[in-house]
Amino acid sequence: MKSERLKITENRQITADIYKMCLLGAEKPLPGNFLELTIPGCFLGRPFGVAGYADGITEIYYRVVGEGTMKMTGMKEGEEVDALTGLGNSFDTNGVKKPLIVSGGLGFAPLKFLAESFVEKGITPLFVAGFKSRSDIVEFLKESGFSPVITTDDGTAGFHGSAVDYIKEKVPEFDRYYACGPMPMLKGMAAAFKGGQLSLEARMGCGFGACMGCSIMTTAGAKRVCKEGPVFSSEEVIFGD
């Protein structure tokens, strides 16, 4: 956990509503960590899962959904921003030999960083990335030297169906799975398969455990997505309707 001033080195539109931003100057985070970015003109910071880290540059992806992310699209290369970095817990990869990684939509972001950390250790994970449609696909792993299995809800590219549908149909071998995406998708994964790690998203106040704005219910009581999470075991999360 650190308060740092970062310099934007890239801020580029990838799809109709997804942007990629690169920021120089943060200490190396762990896969699963997120950062809180201060957006000029917005009172609260915005949390983003770290999608990659190399040569001091942190990579994040964001979808334009509101005022804050709209303002972000106008931020220029070379501009400096305040950030709280190294927030949250991280994925547990201890002893994992055959990881299965499953993402829905923008959920690929923290999992991309995780996949890259496996590749560094000489382990190639099976990465299944689901998107709505062909035009929503982000080709995020090109540089890492391996390709994810792509699924689309409408069948316009790759496997026809969701990432969870793919796993249920093909039943690949794995010793631990990692998932990030919309809540219904995570609920589906947790219901179908045990032994997973889920990275959750939540509307946050502070991002570092002070406001209790993002607490979820777990089998061990209330936990904060920003502090005890964002990574939770698939067995502990109590999903609502």
Partner: protein, 292 residues
């Protein structure tokens, strides 16, 4: 206290986690997260909505319960913070307030009870106790009797005249007042046309409420002779001076802690420079200066 800056309840957890950001022993004291007799999960998500100059929260008093706070949270805090703290007490009934105050005031780490009768986020409780002068006077007296430490009553700004409630707390035997708690507010999602907060409304805080807080403290200073803890949207050392001019004996810093974990520390560091610039020798000299 060696300085007048205290992180406000609900913006600083139980304190010890902030020691990862800075040495929290610089703080004058710490107001703990609002505590109830039983553990509470709080409200469903979303609990937070952003505003132009602040935020709305509707946490709903998530806390582990009075006994766990006394036996676990206070011990963790004492390991990194040597000074005495303020326990913030919430409840749904006289009985709950009294019982929680008795438990927490008995803890050696606690030097005062802050009575939260102004939380807008708890159904059938919280703020309901702070809007009626008769009820507030009676509750204050009951908690005074149960508490072995001084009792500070935290007042709501969601009233026509805050001084009526300030006088009621004084009659009930309060040892001090803290004000203001959050202002009831709502934001509506433009896409869904529904309130952003799950329980529709919450408490608005941040720099947008600062002028409201200064006015409330000014008016209360004229109405009662009790010590006043001023709070509401304090973002910097200048705001601290302004709040003390209005009549605050010390201040609490709230929402700032949520956007800058080192915010309270920076204010303490900046205070001497601002005092020098304004020709202030001692902060105790300036309390209520705007009234003279």
């Amino acid at each position: 206290m060696d300085n007048p800056v205290i992180p406000a309840s609900g913006t600083f957890g139980f304190g010890y986690e902030f020691n990862n950001w800075f040495d929290i022993s610089v703080l004058g004291s710490i107001a703990l997260k609002g505590t109830t007799i039983e553990a509470r999960y709080g409200n469903p998500l979303p609990r937070i909505a952003e505003c132009p100059a602040g935020m709305i929260n509707a946490i709903g008093l998530q806390n582990p319960g009075a006994v766990a706070v006394r036996d676990i949270e206070l011990k963790k805090l004492a390991a990194v913070y040597p000074k005495k703290v303020i326990a913030n007490v919430g409840g749904h009934s006289f009985g709950e307030y009294v019982e929680t105050s008795a438990i927490l005031s008995a803890a050696e780490e606690v030097f005062a009870i802050e009575l939260n009768v102004s939380c807008p986020n708890v159904k059938g409780g919280g703020m309901a106790f702070g809007l009626d002068a008769g009820v507030l006077e009676e509750l204050t007296a009951a908690v005074k009797e149960a508490s072995s430490k001084p009792v500070i009553v935290k007042l709501s700004p969601n009233v026509t005249d805050i001084t009526v409630l300030a006088k009621a707390a004084e009659r009930g035997g309060a040892d001090g007042l803290s004000l203001i708690n959050t202002l009831v507010g709502m934001r509506i999602d433009l896409r869904t046309a529904k309130p952003i907060i799950s329980v529709k409304r919450g408490g608005y805080s941040g720099p947008g409420v600062f002028p409201v807080a200064v006015n409330a403290v000014y008016n209360t200073r004229e109405a009662v002779s009790l010590p006043i803890v001023g709070m509401g949207g304090i973002m910097n050392a200048e705001n601290v001076i302004e709040m003390m001019y209005a009549g605050a004996d010390c201040v609490m810093v709230g929402t700032l802690n949520l956007i800058d974990p080192c915010g309270s520390k920076k204010i303490i560091e900046d205070l001497p420079g601002v005092m020098e610039r304004l020709g202030i020798d001692k902060l105790t000299d300036i309390v209520g200066r705007a009234h003279r």
